[in-house]
Amino acid sequence: MIRALRQRRVAATLLFLAFALLPIIAAAAGDPYLVIVATRILAFAIAALALDLILGYGGMVSFGHAAYLGIGAYSVAILSGAGVTDLGAHLAAAVVAGALFALLTGAISLRTRGIYFIMITLAFAQMAYFFFVSLSAYGGDDGVTLAARSTVLGRDWLRDDRVLYYTALALLVGLYLLCVAITGSRFGRVLTGTRENPVRMEAVGFTPFRYQLTAFVISGAMTAVAGVMLANQASYVSPAFMNWHRSGELVVMVVLGGIGNLLGAIAGATLALLLEEWLAVLTDHWPLIFGTLLILVVMFSRDGLTGLFRGRRG
């Protein structure tokens, strides 16, 4: 247990160091496009991290997490449209809106288990999707192009791709450390216990629902943060952000990287998006290759990529 945690700390340090050096390498290689791709990776890594908190630790398979990406993204579009361009305001609005949506839908979804939970989270995400499709003021189906990226202290620093990138990286690292703390806390222990055996947790005096719902809300708020970064990266927001495919991709990222250890989700998001980039260049049939890869990883290591590196569970 303690050894595994130490290994994770080393791996996290290396991974974040690699991310920190990436713009320098991209500049040296004369490939500025890489930074833009990597910003997208960071945004998805935040979302996958948030999903792992409930999926890996809470045993809640949300199939509607793309809704929160959309909620975060539309927070940027709607506030910017109203003249509020500050990143802090965008993040705050996204966190509040994401938390509220999670509280509302989680309180209902968590009355069910297993496949029904999956279906209800999917249904709520679809409702959010169609709600934004019907928002004609924000382009409906087509979405809306942002006039500019969010501002910081009234300045347009984020226009520089590298500044946006490092902002996303700082958010990812901060949220990762927050998740590490949460999962190692009293709350995290109860949450993990409800995944393992909810009846046992009730029999020692806990009401699982409260802990699961709280985790669900934290996860929703975090995923909305990812949406804010994604909107800034794309300078564009549309209902496609909350497409159910996207929710599925988030689950795939977490499973690919290895559920329930946080770092795996980040690695999974990175690998999935890199493969998408590279394989799409090679062939139109890249999902076939990707699917095969996913099957192999899951077959040979229940802990995903992290399991392959760590070897078998002790």
Partner: protein
């Protein structure tokens, strides 16, 4: 004064009356064994008393307060704890954490998000005490799922003890154990006797007659006899309904 007072408790699964207008009094400090043939409704009774299963009617008073309608966590916090006939632990947790989480449940709020729980010495110390009570202190750092069956039974008991119950409902704690493991658990229960009020369901008659202050015999959801071990042994109804067929 009864610590636990059950009146007219009922539960049916379809047409099957599993608990049939059952009355039961358990005095503070006693070890009250409940015996009965397979399918008599013993586990169902524990589930109803602990709040895990809904009752169709009746009253369950614990320490003077009505427990009917309260969910299991509320009853645990009120001081009623239970163990499971089929081992119910957190397999991926360490043995220590299985017990520490039970300590945590009665030690302040668990809506604490940032501080490392593994470093909360108070929780771990109390958990170690409970483990020592059942002889598992050497196993503290192992994954609970990797324990032997007998060790898991001991862990089950340690978890229940860690909630510091006033009333402990034990559903066949010896199930599947034998020899030294069973003896050890009987010793643990003997040591608890008098300090905690115990309701013990058990098929091992040697253990029951050695430990119990009083015994109730449950047949088809009804208590057909209650008394001291000697009275129950001598009761002709009991011999016919239960002891005779074993």
């Amino acid at each position: 004064m009864s610590l636990l007072s059950v009146r007219g408790l009922r539960k049916s699964y379809g047409a099957l009356k599993v608990t049939d207008d059952l009355d039961l009094e358990v005095a503070e400090g006693e070890l009250h064994a409940i015996i009965g043939p397979n399918g008599a409704g013993k586990s169902t009774l524990i589930a109803q008393l602990s709040g895990q299963a809904r009752s169709d009617g009746g009253s369950v008073r614990f320490a003077g307060a009505e427990m009917m309608g309260k969910p299991m966590p509320a009853r645990v916090r009120a001081g009623m704890s239970r163990s499971f006939q089929i081992t119910s632990i957190l397999p991926a947790f360490t043995v220590l954490d299985n017990v520490a989480v039970a300590v945590q449940a009665r030690d302040g709020s668990s809506f604490r998000f940032l501080r490392s729980v593994a470093r909360e010495a108070r929780l771990n110390e109390q958990a170690m005490q409970a483990l020592a009570q059942v002889g598992l202190q050497d196993r503290a750092d192992l994954r609970a799922g990797s324990l032997s069956h007998g060790e898991k039974r001991a862990l089950e008991l340690a978890i229940a003890l860690a909630t510091r119950p006033r009333l402990l409902l034990l559903d066949e704690p010896l199930a599947g154990t034998s020899g030294a493991e069973a003896e050890r658990l009987v010793e643990v229960m003997a040591a608890l006797k008098g300090r905690v009020t115990l309701v013990l369901i058990e098929h091992d008659m040697d253990a029951v007659f050695a430990l119990a202050d009083r015994i109730s015999v449950l047949v088809y959801g009804r208590i057909v006899a209650t008394g001291t071990p000697d009275q129950v042994r001598a009761d002709p109804k009991v011999r016919a309904a239960y002891l005779g067929d074993g």
